[in-house]
Subunit: 368 residues, 2 copies
Amino acid sequence: MQGAERVDVQASGGSYPVFVGSGLLQRLPALTAPHTPSGRVALISDDRVGPLHGEAAAQSCRDAGLDVTYLSFPAGEASKTRKSWSILTDQMLDEGLGRDSLVIGFGGGVTTDLAGFVAATYLRGVPIVQVPTSYLAMIDASVGGKTGVDVRAGKNLVGAFHPPVAVLADVDLLETLPDSERREGLVEAVKHGAVADAGYFEALVRELSQLVGATAASATSAVLRSVEIKAEVVGQDEFEGGYRKVLNFGHTLGHAIEAAARYEVGHGTAVALGMIGEAAIGEELGVTANGVTERLESALRTLLPKLGAPVEVAEAMTFLGADKKARGGRTRYVLLEEIGRAGRGEDWSYDVPVELARTVLTRVLGQA
Amino acid sequence: MQGAERVDVQASGGSYPVFVGSGLLQRLPALTAPHTPSGRVALISDDRVGPLHGEAAAQSCRDAGLDVTYLSFPAGEASKTRKSWSILTDQMLDEGLGRDSLVIGFGGGVTTDLAGFVAATYLRGVPIVQVPTSYLAMIDASVGGKTGVDVRAGKNLVGAFHPPVAVLADVDLLETLPDSERREGLVEAVKHGAVADAGYFEALVRELSQLVGATAASATSAVLRSVEIKAEVVGQDEFEGGYRKVLNFGHTLGHAIEAAARYEVGHGTAVALGMIGEAAIGEELGVTANGVTERLESALRTLLPKLGAPVEVAEAMTFLGADKKARGGRTRYVLLEEIGRAGRGEDWSYDVPVELARTVLTRVLGQA
């Protein structure tokens, strides 16, 4: 695509392109059309992003001759449920969308995860084009094929691997994103640096204010580098048998915090607390170099000045057992060796004594 | 596996074995253990097959050292829903089954489809061993990786491709199957003959009484040949881009009849009526040789002497549009050229005028 940076992500069903840049949205119809033999499209957006960008994108696809069914759901993590998935699916069925239709997931991480799971299971799978509109979704959620919903027992516990046919990350859309969400989303970029690229970690720290301000050049280069890292990891291990686990750094404790907070803390906040906690665990166990926790915490507190979560330690602990990374009932953790390098452990994860997890959570949640 | 016939089915994630024979069930623990690193298993069965065979199988797995969570749901197509899927998933989460667990689907087609969809979406996918206990499930449902549930708009409209790691078809289990269900299930065998092997079609007609009686030798050889045919088709076209569609012969009209009957007619009955109707359509369009409808109808009426369904034509017509094989809103049909050979058409399917479908349905449902 002319004027856009492009990263190709390898997947078992073939590779797919991720386009990153400014002014890309106008190319959505041209990108979509080849993947829908019937010309039929379901564009799924939430009721916040939809009025800002989604409805206009649907109209531009219609103007280009596509038959677009526009579907909306209430914004927020609380919508990432089997119920929303059922409603969206039934709406598509009622519209008679066939197997030769295509879904466009247009929004933040909740939308790309939810629309992805709809596409994964609609008539046993139809293609999806992801149009992430937040840092979180551009950097993380829309690349790699993970889709799913939250359930009572925890986050993303029901889902499927369903790689998109293309991803369109137009950094101009970040401009309408609230400042707090930009900050939350950039936590995943910090994670990419922390597990795979120390130079990128340092660059993020240096450019934090331009990134939070969503300056196009700076945003493009960060999104691009994050997507490259993610593509590299996912290309090696699509189904998370081993190396892909490193992307879960911060997410074992993070998901537990998020679930205990009933998803009323941001994903970035929860993962930031999780990373600090898991770095501290690593230092305690001698896996992580001394000082890593401090560097990480300093970067994350600059990004999220009010970092914290109103969660009881005991409550968070109950959610640790249900984590997807559990093996034989034992919760597994990704640990860093250094900023920029995750530890190999056993299959890129480590056993951690429950008491150590509790101690660290207590410290991180400020309840010591 | 010693003493059992074995067919290997190719799938994108690697091939898997289907074992067919008598006295195989005792080997379930040995077959299962290598696929669950944690030793944890969820055995899913319904409340009819469970007390007959499922609970004993769970116990034999426990005796072999596996940690088995036994899960049951109410027997019948009415249970093949997103709700049952949610309940089973939540029960597994409550038990803390991790990603290194395995599901055993133990029962008829409803169970293997439903348990398959649970496994496909549990923590984004865990392996499944299918233990089909009916002709329908042995011959069709448990092989090929299709999983899913029914929704208001129709049958199997939500689901995923999730091939099992192994299938164990012990024909001894057919003995406890009601006579009517054996007959219903053998309809799919007749379909396999009709689309791919005229010699098999004739053999089925010859051995119908032994097959309905579930004589081990006769049942083994029929299940085996059906699995071979299915493996051949699925191996060529796992995701139903083309040739696999031939297995949908009889299912376009069949699913519409089933949905219009609120699933109160058997799947075999519906597909039998569907095959007769689609053969008649083929003859009308000049695709199918003259006399095929008559031969097919004669075989199917011998198998199902009371063949018929209490369904209004208009009601069935409303379900035709929602069929998964619809393209650009148009319903597509698989048509035979001869007994033993499906027509290539365009991508192994044909456009059929709505009026012809209505005429044929009217005749088949005895409302002319």
